[in-house]
Symmetry: C2
Subunit: 332 residues, 2 copies
C-alpha cells in the first residue's frame, strides 16, 4: 500500500516561488509514488483572519488555481477544504484533552508565530491551539509522512505526542507521522535577502505574477551592495541573484563560471539579473498560462475541490468509526 | 414562539438530591412552557476523564435514567448526547478564534475548577476551553435562557462576549443567552454541611439510593455538634437536618414549631432525622421506582436518547447553514 502524505497551505494569499521550491515541486514529484492529501487550511487561515473571512474565501480559489497550474493532478492527489471536513474539528476537540496548556505554551513554533504576528497575551485561543488542530489534520487521514519546514518540526513532535497518548489510553488507531524536511531550498530567501520569501513582507515573486512584474522584481533584487561598478569584484555569498541561480538555473557549470567572473570583477548585476529573469520567465510562464486557462472556469475548479473534499470525508468517516469505538463513544 | 432553554449535565456520576433541587425540579416545571434542550455533556465529561472513557459511557445511561425517573418527558424536552452532535465541535473551533488565551485565563469559573481539580499548570487544554465549548452548546440551539448556578454566571458572560463578537464580525446569527439562577436551594449543601452536595465528596444522597442507604445517610447528617443531650438547647442555623427540612418538608408551620422546640431544648437529633427521612423517602421512593422500571430496558432508554439527538442535530444543521453563510464558508 502507498504511504500517506499530508501537506497543504493556508489560503491567505497566492502562492509564490518560495512555495514552489519548498513544497509544490516536491508534491509534484511525490504524487504518483504516495497517496497524497493536500489540505487547503481555511479554518486555520480564519484563526489569524477571523475578522476578514472574505480574504480567506478568495484565496481558497487562488491556492486551488496555483495547485492546478503547477501540475498537481486532482484525480491523483486528494485536494480538500478543511472547513468542509467537520471530523477534523471533532478530532481536535478530543485531542485537546490530551495536551496541557503548559505544553502548548512551550511549543517553539507557536511561540515564534505569536511573536511574529505581534499577538502577545491577546493571542486568539484558536491560534494558540494550532498544533492540536494540525495533529487532527494529519491524523484523520492517518498520514505517515508530513513534509515540513525545519521550523515546523516541533508541530510534528507535538502531533506524535498526541498520537502516543491517544493510542495508549484508547486503542492504537493512529500511526506516528514522520516530519520530512526537503533537502534543498526548503527556505527560499526573499528578493531582499532579509528573510524567507513571504507575500506579506513584499519580497516575493508570485506564481501568478505577470512577465513584467517578474522582470521588475528581479531587477530590484538584493545583490552585493559594495559592487558599485561592473569592473569591481563582487560577493557571491548572500547575493540573492546567485542564490536563485543556484536553485533555478539548471546549467550549473555556466553559473559557476559566472560566479568566478563576478568575484573577479567585470560582470555587472544587470547581466546576471537578465539571466535569472530568463530562467524564471521560462519556469513561471507555462505555470501562469495554465493558471489563466483554469481561471476561466472557477466553478469547474471549485468542483474539483468539492470532489477531493468528498474523498477526504470518506477517509475521515472511516477514521472516526475507529476513534469512536476506541473512545467508547460509539453509541448508536 | 416558545423561548429556548439549554441545560444539562456531565455524565460523571448518578444525579443526586443537589441536582434535583438545583436543576431537575426546575426543568420539570419548565418543560411545557419552554422549548427545552437537555445536553448530556459526554465530551465535556471526557475532558476531565480522558483516561476513563468507560466511566463516562456508563454514566450516560445513568443520567438518562435519572432524567426519565424524575419525570422529564423526552417527547417534550429534547435530550441529546453531545458527542453525537459534531456541529458543536465545529462551532467550538470557530468560537476559539474569537476569544484570547488571556481572557480564558481570567475566567473565574475555570480558575476555580482548575483549583478544585488540582490541575495547576498541567490543566488539559480541553478543560481550559470549557467556556468556549459551552458557548457552542448554548448557541447551536440558539438558546435564550440557560439556568445556572451562581458560580457559573461567568460562563454565560463569556458566551455573550463570543456571541457579540460573532454577530458583529460576521452576521447577527445568535441571540445573547440569559443566565438564570434558580431562586431557592440552587446549592444544596452536602450531608456534612461542609460544601455543596457532591458525589465525589461523599456527602450526597443519590436519586437511585436504596431506602436503607437514604436512612443511613440521614442518620449520619451534620446537626449541631454541641447538642449532646436531648434536653440541651440546639442550634438550627448550620444544622443540615433543618436546612433540608426547610427545602423538602412542605409543612412549613410544623417545621417552624420543631425549630422552636430544638432551640429551647428537649428535641433530639434522632427525632428530626426521622422526620427528614420520611420526607425524603416519600420524595425519592417514586423516583427510584420509575428509575428501576426504565432500567429494565436500557436499549429502549438509549433509543429515546438517539431520537432526541436526531432532533438536536436538525437544529444544529439549520444553525450551521447560517453560520457558514455568515462566515463565508458556504462553498458548495
Amino acid at each position: 500500500m502507498k504511504k500517506i502524505i499530508l501537506t497543504g497551505d493556508r489560503p491567505s494569499g497566492p502562492l509564490h516561488l518560495g512555495h514552489y521550491v519548498g513544497s509544490l515541486k516536491n508534491r509534484l514529484a511525490m504524487q504518483q509514488e504516495y497517496q497524497q492529501y493536500l489540505i487547503i487550511a481555511d479554518v486555520q487561515a480564519l484563526s489569524a483572519n477571523a475578522e476578514n473571512p472574505e480574504k480567506v474565501r478568495e484565496n481558497v480559489l487562488q491556492v486551488m488555481l496555483d495547485y492546478l497550474a503547477v501540475g498537481i493532478d486532482p484525480a491523483v492527489s486528494t485536494i480538500f477544504l478543511q472547513s468542509l471536513v467537520p471530523e477534523i474539528a471533532e478530532l481536535t476537540i478530543y485531542f485537546l484533552n490530551l495536551v496541557t496548556v503548559a505544553r502548548l505554551q512551550r511549543n517553539p513554533t507557536v511561540k515564534e508565530e505569536i511573536r511574529q504576528k505581534g499577538f502577545g497575551a491577546s493571542v486568539p485561543a484558536g491560534f494558540f491551539m494550532h498544533p492540536v488542530s494540525q495533529a487532527a489534520d494529519i491524523t484523520f487521514v492517518k498520514a505517515d509522512i508530513v513534509p515540513v519546514g525545519e521550523d515546523q518540526l516541533p508541530l510534528i513532535e507535538q502531533c506524535c505526542e498526541i498520537v502516543r497518548s491517544f493510542n495508549r489510553i484508547y486503542a492504537p488507531v493512529f500511526p506516528e507521522p514522520q516530519g520530512i524536511v526537503p533537502k534543498q531550498g526548503a527556505r527560499l530567501m526573499g528578493l531582499d535577502g532579509k528573510a524567507k520569501m513571504s507575500k506579506s513582507l513584499g519580497n516575493a515573486i508570485s506564481l501568478c505574477d505577470s512577465a513584467d512584474d517578474i522582470q521588475k522584481k528581479v531587477m530590484s533584487m538584493y545583490t552585493d551592495p559594495n559592487h558599485l561598478r561592473v569592473a569591481d569584484p563582487g560577493e557571491v555569498e548572500g547575493n540573492m541573484v546567485f542564490s536563485y541561480l543556484d536553485i533555478f538555473d539548471s546549467n550549473v557549470a555556466e553559473v559557476e563560471e559566472l560566479k568566478a567572473q563576478y568575484r573577479a570583477g567585470g560582470l555587472g548585476d544587470v547581466a546576471i539579473k537578465r539571466r535569472l529573469n530568463t530562467v524564471l520567465q521560462e519556469l513561471i510562464g507555462p505555470i501562469r498560462d495554465r493558471r489563466n486557462e483554469f481561471a476561466k472556469d472557477p466553478v469547474a475548479v471549485m468542483q474539483l475541490l468539492k470532489q477531493g473534499t468528498e474523498r477526504a470525508r470518506e477517509a475521515a468517516a472511516k477514521t472516526m468509526i475507529e476513534v469512536r469505538r476506541a473512545m467508547r463513544i460509539d453509541y448508536f
